[in-house]
């Protein structure tokens, strides 16, 4: 859907104002929207910020506001926009319905998100009895990596790696998500900062 992508890139700056205008209205949140689009919400978050950054905006913070309108209408709008692209947007701006335009923009970013989100490699790691399972991981080069660390122990652990530039506390019996940028081939070691015996490595090829 090249036309949609274009829309996302060029329309976002114009839509900033309308997104802010929407901040007071009630409606589905990002997470709910994501569920509706059947895209894991963590992927949405990542792609969303990337989209926004490409358009030169400081962060995606502005887009985290709640959206107006309810489910069915929203879905119709999403598809309408994927079909209509720029044309729909311009029309909406012309009739000055800012809230609708903002919903469309968000819909488009979401629509294009699933395509880009596939870039990231997702890696599941379990932490139990003070050990990583598995401790040797693999990932392809030049693609972002998302670690999902499942801490089965009652105590907290800290997933840390100097070479990956990450450091994250994962409380006992919870999951932690750790984002890593695209990596060059090599071996990247990680460990539990609260327990030196727990070690592992990610081999990037």
């Amino acid at each position: 859907m090249p036309s949609t992508m274009q829309f996302g890139q060029y329309g976002v700056t114009d839509l900033l104002g309308s997104a802010i205008a929407l901040s007071s209205t009630q409606g589905p949140t990002w997470a709910q929207l994501a569920a509706e689009m059947r895209v894991p919400s963590s992927q949405c978050a990542k792609v969303k910020s990337r989209e926004v950054d490409r358009s030169g905006l400081p962060s995606s913070a502005t887009f985290r506001h709640k959206l107006g309108d309810s489910g069915i209408r929203l879905r119709i709008l999403i598809w309408l926009n994927i079909a209509g692209g720029w044309y729909t947007f311009v029309t909406m701006m012309m009739i000055k319905d800012l809230s609708l335009a903002a919903v469309c923009a968000v819909a488009i970013i979401h629509a294009s998100s699933s395509a880009i989100a596939q870039d990231a490699t997702e890696i599941q790691v379990t932490y139990s009895n003070g050990q990583f399972q598995p401790s040797e991981l693999r990932a392809p080069a030049d693609r972002p990596v998302v670690f999902r660390v499942k801490n089965l122990d009652p105590a907290a652990m800290e997933f840390e790696s100097e070479s990956l530039r990450v450091e994250k506390v994962v409380a006992g019996k919870t999951d932690g998500v750790i984002n890593v940028r695209a990596l060059k081939p090599g071996r990247y070691e990680f460990h539990d900062d609260f327990n030196d015996k727990a070690r592992g490595a990610l081999t990037v090829q």
């Binding site: 105590a155 907290a156 530039r165 940028r181």
Partner: protein
Amino acid sequence: MLAALIIVFREVFEAGLIVGIVLAVTGEVPNRNRWIGGGALAGGLAACLVAAFAGALSELFEGMGQELFNAAILLVAVLMLTWHNVWMARHGREIAGELRAVGQAVADGSKPLLALAVVVGVAVLREGSEVALFLYGVATSDGGSGMSFLAGGLMGLVLGGAVCLMTYQGLMRIPPRALFASTTMLITLLAAGMAAQAVAFLERANWLTSLDRVMWNSSRLLPDRSLAGRTLHTLVGYTDQPTEMQLVVYIAVIVATFVLMRLTAPSQGGRPGHAVRAA
């Protein structure tokens, strides 16, 4: 026990440095102990709260709650430090001069104290929540080794306090006039370093993705994890693998601080010596 000591000390170390600097900066400002102590206490309590709800905090913002929370409190600290510097550029010289005891200066002096108390609170909160999580995990694990770990952890805490005291004593050896200039620089770099850290957290949360190329890798020369690396990390924001955005923000904070200080400094005073002499 030694492992626990090292882990806790590593976390407490940075907070100790920051508290030591703030104590030195506030020098003999009246009531400062109450403010700084209050900040540290509030930070400690908040750290326990954060530790207790660490799981829930993590789940916010699609699993990025921790990163965003850290970035947010760091940015608050950056704002407070910058504001303190700007405030001191305007009023500080009167206080640094002989007017310290005058009632007005005392009343004014509590304003930057609040800012610095917040900074101390943030430092203690950030490092403390990890210590609390770690010690809690240790305490709930098997009895005997748990107790020795806990003892090690407490010793780590005491050592962290010693770092704070040493920093303070070291800075207090600097003559007062030179101290004012050097603490301004120190606080500016502290703020810039914290801003760069906040950028790192936003990058990890994928909220900041532009300019994310790593500029250089000096981890062989001076790794972040070494004692010297950690000290420089806290004091001047040293990182062995900074991204472009981190560097940009770092420089921007320094420039912004100096521009703001220049803009708000009293025009008649001009240079440090003048105002004091006039007083």
